[in-house]
């Protein structure tokens, strides 16, 4: 009798799993586990909310992880002052709607001094408005863990990144001190002053992200949808041209059907030509995309690599 019931149950488990347990459920479950480990192991975690699609997925997963409770950490947006206005509108509306605690942090000194990529160069501008601002915010609020939406697939130097990535007291990443990660045992053991960056989306690809956004109907910034926008062509990249301060002399804006695959600062985020106006169309386009999404981010170009930035404390 008992054996019969057990067998039936195994069979049931099996058929249910094979029908419903998609790769997205597997990824979702792993990410929820990681988010819960973060809250269990750290005194004062924060979720780095960049307003982009990966952040949106991350917040969605965090709400699932702690349901029926509220989010057990605030959201931190490092605002460079050059973010798209659509991002800021979306940020304020969305965080209010879900009742999240939002902290906006800006490097006011550098912004007041007129930091701009055309003036400082992309690397130094990022260093001041993003990296320095982030490290300052972590220190100001004494956060010991910062949850981010980075994925290993995004960029070559991220392929070996840990899920719990150790940063020293200066916020820097030292490849020699990264811990082995086995099974699902993530160690949050740190010394005073050290912090951990947590990457719950490590195993997701851009395609997984869009498929999941479609499946869960997750709201994203309208900039991800294609429409006719004013852009200029610069070194093979389509740069938004709504504001002439971001243009070089002689550049002439044109109207093109484009959308954004990643969202950063206006002067440094390239658009891609697209007619995808629905989530399904975006997911489909991503499924057959031939160029990696980070190619539209000026920050990854040039001699100063993502690896250098990470070492300095960049996300």
């Amino acid at each position: 009798m008992v054996v019969g019931i057990e067998l039936e149950r195994v069979w049931l488990a099996f058929t249910t799993m094979t029908h419903d347990w998609t790769h997205l459920r597997e990824l979702e479950s792993e990410s929820i586990y990681i988010l819960r480990e973060t809250v269990a192991q750290f005194r004062n975690p924060v979720l780095l909310y960049s307003v982009g699609k990966d952040s949106s997925v991350l917040v969605h997963l965090a709400r699932k992880a702690f349901y029926p409770g509220p989010l057990p950490f605030p959201l931190l947006h490092v605002d460079t002052g050059y973010k798209f206005k659509e991002m800021l509108e979306f940020r304020d509306r969305f965080t209010k709607q879900i009742g999240a605690r939002l902290i906006v942090h800006r490097n006011e000194d550098s912004i007041a001094a007129g930091a701009h990529p055309l003036k400082l160069g992309v690397a130094r501008c990022c260093g001041q408005l993003k990296t320095a601002a982030l490290l300052h915010a972590l220190d100001k609020y004494q956060f010991d863990a910062a949850i981010g939406g980075a994925r290993r697939e995004e960029e070559r130097s991220r392929a070996k990144e840990r899920v719990f990535s150790l940063r020293d007291a200066f916020g820097q990443w030292d490849p020699r001190r990264q811990r082995p990660e086995l099974w699902s045992l993530y160690s949050g053991a740190i010394h005073e002053g050290e912090t951990i960056r947590v990457f719950p989306l490590s195993n997701w690809t851009e395609r997984d992200i869009w498929q999941y956004i479609v499946q869960e109907n997750i709201p994203v910034v309208p900039l991800y949808y294609a429409q006719e926008r004013l852009v200029v062509r610069r070194n093979g990249t389509l740069i938004p041209a709504d504001d002439s301060m971001h243009l070089k002399d002689g550049e002439v804006p044109e109207k093109v059907w484009v959308r954004y695959r990643t969202l950063g600062c206006v002067p440094c985020t390239g658009a891609v030509e697209s007619r995808a106006t629905t989530l399904e169309e975006i997911a489909e386009e991503t499924g057959v995309a031939k160029i990696s999404e980070r190619s539209t981010r000026i920050i990854d170009h040039g001699a100063n690599t993502m690896e250098d930035k990470k070492r300095e404390g960049y996300f």
Partner: protein, 416 residues
């Protein structure tokens, strides 16, 4: 463990074409993008090469070339309409043991690459042995560089038989062999006219079709508690108390009798809560929140288990340990041991033997372990550990050791 995601590890010698194989898999399944391929091309040309060197696609950090990251397992992703694949790619150089142990711990299948010119060498055996030790029971033996042995069937069969003879000694493993040329593209994602004598599945077909997901679901129910959920009172949840976690193995239904360990308190499951609605049943790998019939003292590190066949509660056990740190193991030194969601103080009080991973012989007496040593040890913990033997349950049988510098210095599998 699900059939829609396959996590596998790749191991091989430095020159047996592993990077080329992975690069080709990524390119031919569109797991690599054109700009990344262009980058690899440019880099190859700068080095004086021509065309695309697939291996450059997987060449990682500058730091790894300059000074070496401690554990340099790289994770790579590709998908076909049938499955999503996560590769834990362990490098072939001298630090292989700790890297391979790390990559194998999250994998359900290992691809062992063998250079057709050299046949089964010590390293091939070592890779298979370590993967097997970490519980991998599915192996694809890819006999590579068939182009350099004129695609000869006899050579392939000779190597295959050689490997089978060896792996039989390990026991309980399913082995699939395929002859390939990663460089020329034979039998990776495309069939090969040059090896028409081979009628079996090509490498990608094997990866797409091998079933590895039965294990964790068939085991007894285990649920390590991550956190207690006590949200502020709301209309829907006036007095909610739940236990968050991910089902490590087996399944659970509302109404099931369970036992909480180590306290051994018995109770009943009253609810399986998720934001997507309540469930009647939850399965291995699902992240859920459980509610219990009784108000018990349950917290992080406790294990909720099915009533019959509960796990063991131990403060002393034997384990196979892989030492990963540059600092050597000290007997009777105070370490921290992390197992499921539990963290306890522990000492390693005896080394039974060290395994020679080349000869598979046991060496004793031994009084210390150095980097990359593997062997059998005895461990004592200050608080009880709720566990199963690793050979039965990979989720509740594995642990890590952390030292006073907060470094993860070892990984172990409980043998009891």
């Amino acid at each position: 463990m699900s059939s829609n995601v396959l996590r596998f590890t790749t191991a091989g010698n430095v020159d047996d074409g592993k990077s080329t194989l992975i690069g080709r898999l990524l390119v031919e399944t569109q797991g690599a993008f054109e700009d990344q391929i262009e980058g690899a091309k440019r880099e190859n040309e700068r080095r004086g090469g021509k065309g695309i060197d697939f291996s450059l696609l997987t060449d990682g950090l500058r730091a790894e070339r300059e000074q070496g990251i401690t554990i340099d397992v790289a994770y790579r992703y590709f998908a076909t309409p049938k499955r999503k694949f996560i590769i834990a790619d362990a490098p072939g150089h001298e630090q292989y043991t700790r890297n391979l142990v790390t990559s194998a711990s999250t994998s359900d299948l290992a691809v062992i690459l063998i250079d057709a010119r050299n046949g089964v060498v010590t390293q091939s055996r070592r890779h298979a042995f370590i993967a097997h030790l970490l519980g991998i029971r599915h192996f694809i033996v890819a006999i590579n560089k068939m182009d350099l042995v004129d695609y000869r069937r006899e050579r392939y069969e000779e190597i295959r038989n050689d490997f089978m003879n060896f792996i039989d000694r390990l026991g309980g493993a399913a082995i699939y062999c395929v002859p390939i040329s990663a460089l020329e593209g034979d039998l990776v994602t495309e069939r090969s006219a040059r090896m028409a004598w081979y009628t079996g599945p090509k490498l990608l077909e094997l990866l797409e079709s091998i079933e590895v997901d039965d294990q964790q679901h068939k085991l007894h129910f285990r649920f390590p508690v991550q956190l207690v959920s006590r949200p502020p009172a709301s209309a829907e949840f006036p007095d909610f108390r739940g236990y968050m976690g991910r089902v490590a193995s087996g399944s659970i239904r509302v109404g099931d009798h369970v036992v909480v360990l180590p306290s051994r308190a018995r109770t009943t499951i009253t609810g399986i809560v998720t934001q997507d609605g309540p469930l009647q049943e939850a399965f291995a790998r699902q992240a859920v929140t459980l509610t219990l019939a009784d108000d018990l003292d349950v917290g992080r590190g406790d294990m909720i288990s099915c009533e019959p066949q509960p796990p063991q509660v131990r403060t002393e056990f034997e384990a196979t340990l892989c030492w990963m740190s540059e600092r050597k193991l000290h007997l009777n030194h105070r370490y921290v041991l992390r197992h499921t969601t539990k963290t306890v103080r522990a000492i390693i009080n005896e080394i039974d033997y060290r395994l020679n991973v080349n000869t598979l012989e046991r060496e004793s007496p031994v009084t210390e372990f150095q980097t990359n040593d593997i062997g059998q040890v005895r461990i004592k913990t200050l608080q009880p550990v709720v566990c199963d033997p690793y050979s039965v349950n990979r989720q509740t049988g594995g642990f890590i050791i952390i030292d006073e510098n907060d470094d993860t210095v070892a990984a172990g599998t409980i043998t009891l």
